[in-house]
Subunit: 355 residues, 2 copies
C-alpha cells in the first residue's frame, strides 16, 4: 500500500470521479465499500442539498468518501451577451414547442465564495475534499486541513500542479485531455496545452513532491496498471461508472454511451460556458459552429443548456444532454458498481501477471 | 518475445520513429544494433536520395530497419491561395531582409504516385516499410509483401486502423494526439477525435486482430512498460531521440527542446499545410491567428515554411523552425542513441520490478 492510499484510508488505488449530476450516494458508497474512494460532486448543489447528499452517503458507508467542489472564478454577468445567446438558441427551443428562458442566472455558487458549503464540509467531515477549476483561499484550505480532511486538486498542467503543491494540497489529480466532463483548468482564458494523461502523469511525477492521481480515458484494469506504471499512486475513473445502475445518468445518456456515438467525444463550451468533453451530439454540433466569445460565462450558459435539454427531452430528443464522457467511452460497461470493482481488480491482476 | 517482434525480427519492443528531416542512418542503425527497430523517414526525399539514405543505413547495420513513406493525397494547387499566403507571410520574410519565394511548389511526391520510390524499396528490401497519412494502392501493398517486407501503417482512430487491417497491413502504429510531428490522419478534412495514446491503444487492442504499436508522449522505460500494459506489442518513440547527437536536428531545435519551450507544444497547420505537433514558437503563433482555409495544401505550404525558416536562421532567429515534438518533450535526454537504448532498458526493468 502506498502513502497516498494510507492517507486516503482506502485499500484500492481506484477513485470514482466526482461527476456532478451523475454520481450518487449509492455509487459513492458502493465504491467505498469495495475498497476504493467513492466521490460526490456537489459543485452544482447549494449547501443544504450537498449536506443531504453527503449525509445519505455517510449512512451507506463508514469508509472514506470524497466530496468535490467547484472553485471557478464567479461568473461575470453580461446581459447583452446572454440575451444574444438566448436569441441564438431560440430556434432550437422552438423545435421543441418551447421558449427559451426570459433571462439566465448563475445557477450555482463557486466554493470560493460559498461559506455555507464550507460549514457543511467542516461539520460532516468527509475523509477527502477535492477542488476542481482552481483552489479556494488559504484560510479555507487551512480550516479543512485542521479537521483532518485530505485535500485533492485537479491539475491539467505543471503550473497548476505546482500551485496546488505550494498551497498545501495533499495530492493532484492529473486530468488528461482525454478525460470526460469539465476540463479543470484554473483559468479557461489561458492557452490549454491539452496534455494527455500519459505525458501529463510522467511530467507531474517527475516534478512534484506530492502524489499524482492519473485521470482521463482509464476504463479497465489494464489502464489502471498502466497509469500506475507511469508513476501515479492512484487513478480516477469517471466514464467507467456512468453506465452503472447506481448512476443518475438518464436513458438518453445511457443509450448514447452504448451506441456508435461513444466513439466520438469532443471538447465543447456551448453547453455550460466552460470547455468540457462530451459525446458529440446536437448540442456540441452547435458549439462547433459558434465563436466561444458568444457563449455566456460558466455557469450562466449552463442555465440555457439545461433548459434546452429539458425542452428537447420532453419531446423525446436526447441530443442536447450534457453527455460528459472521456475518450474511453466505447469501453464502458453497464454493470453494478460492486461488479465493476471486482472486474477492475481481476483485470489488474491479469495485466500484472501477463507481463 | 511476442509475435510482432518475431515478424519485425527485433529483440526489443522499441521502434525509433521515422522522423523525416531528423532521423539519420547513424540514428537508425544505432537503434537497430541495440536491438530495436531503427527508422528512416524518406517522405520528403526523391527516390534517388532515399536510395542513398537506405544504402548508407544498410552499410551500418545488417539488422531490421524501417523505411517510412508518406501516402497523402497529392496536393491540389491553388495559385490564388498560394500567392495570398506568400503576401501574408511577406512581412515575416522582410523582418529577415529576405523576400518570399515567387511561387510555391509541391516539394515532394506522395508515395501513392511515386513508382520510382516503390522500385527503390523493392530493390533494397528493408525489413519494414511504414505508411503515414494513408495507404498506397493494393497493387503496391502486394508487391511489397511479395518481397517479404513487413508493412506498418499509422492509425489515429478505429476507422483508419480497420482500413489498414483490411488492406493487409501487418500492424498499426496507434498515434496518440500527444505525438510530435505530422498527425497521420488519412483525411485531414475529416473531424479529428484527437484520441490520446491511452484510449486509442485500448480501443484498437480491443477491436483489431493485428498487433498495435503505441506512439505519442512515450519518453522513458516507465512509459514503454505502461504502453505495453495497455496491450501494445511495441512502442514508437520519436521526440525521445531528437536530442541525440545522431539526430539532424539543428542547434535551434535542440536549444528549444532543452528550454521552457518544451513545456508547450501545439498542433499547427501553418508550417506545412497539415496538422503537426510542434514546440510553440513564432511560426505556430502565426498559425494560431490564421484561418486554416488560408493555408495552401500540404506540402505546398511547407515550401513557404522552409523558406521562411531558412531566412530567419540566416539572421540567427530559430523561431520559425518545424520543431516537431510530442507532449513528452520536457523529458527529452540528449545522450547518444546507444546510451539512450541502455537507459530505456534499465528503466523498463525498474518499472517492472517496482511493482
Amino acid at each position: 500500500m502506498n502513502k497516498l492510499l494510507e492517507k486516503l484510508a482506502i485499500k484500492l488505488p481506484i477513485i470514482q470521479a466526482p461527476m456532478a449530476g451523475v454520481s450518487t450516494p449509492a455509487m459513492a458508497s458502493e465504491v467505498a465499500n469495495a475498497g476504493g474512494l467513492g466521490s460526490l460532486g456537489v459543485g452544482g448543489l447549494n449547501a443544504q442539498d450537498a449536506r443531504e447528499m453527503i449525509r445519505a452517503t455517510q449512512q451507506l458507508t463508514a469508509l472514506s468518501i470524497n466530496v468535490n467542489v467547484f472553485c471557478h472564478q464567479p461568473a461575470v454577468a453580461d446581459v447583452k451577451r446572454e440575451s444574444a445567446w438566448l436569441s441564438f438558441l431560440s430556434p432550437q427551443f422552438k423545435r421543441f414547442d418551447s421558449q427559451p428562458p426570459a433571462q439566465l442566472n448563475e445557477i450555482y455558487t463557486s466554493f470560493i465564495e460559498d461559506d455555507a458549503m464550507l460549514e457543511v464540509l467542516l461539520e460532516l467531515r468527509p475523509r477527502v475534499v477535492s477542488f476542481h477549476f482552481g483552489l479556494p483561499a488559504q484560510r479555507k484550505i487551512a480550516l479543512l486541513k485542521e479537521c483532518g480532511i485530505v485535500l485533492l486538486s485537479t491539475a491539467t498542467n505543471l503550473d497548476e500542479a505546482m500551485v496546488a503543491q505550494n498551497e498545501g494540497i495533499d495530492a493532484v489529480v492529473a486530468q488528461g485531455y482525454e478525460a470526460g466532463g469539465h476540463r479543470g483548468m484554473f483559468d479557461p482564458a489561458k492557452v490549454d496545452d491539452r496534455l494527455g494523461i500519459f505525458a501529463l502523469t510522467r511530467l507531474l511525477v517527475a516534478n512534484l513532491d506530492i502524489p499524482v492521481i492519473a485521470a482521463g480515458g482509464i476504463m479497465d484494469g489494464a489502464g489502471i496498471v498502466a497509469a500506475m506504471d507511469l508513476g501515479a499512486q492512484a487513478v480516477q475513473l469517471g466514464t467507467a461508472f456512468v453506465g452503472c445502475p447506481e448512476s443518475s445518468a438518464d436513458q438518453f445518456f445511457r443509450a448514447a454511451l452504448q451506441s456508435e456515438a461513444a466513439l466520438h467525444t469532443t471538447m465543447t463550451s456551448a453547453i455550460s460556458g466552460r470547455p468540457a468533453r462530451c459525446l458529440a451530439n446536437l448540442f456540441t454540433a452547435i458549439g462547433d459552429e459558434t465563436d466561444r466569445s458568444a457563449i455566456p460565462n460558466y455557469p450562466i450558459a449552463y442555465d440555457a443548456g439545461k433548459a434546452l435539454n429539458a425542452a428537447a427531452k420532453k419531446l423525446g430528443e436526447g441530443g442536447f444532454g450534457a453527455h460528459w464522457a472521456g475518450q474511453g467511452a466505447p469501453l464502458c460497461r453497464s454493470v453494478p458498481v460492486a461488479n465493476l470493482m471486482v472486474l477492475l481488480l481481476s483485470e489488474m491482476e491479469a495485466a500484472r501477471t501477463n507481463r
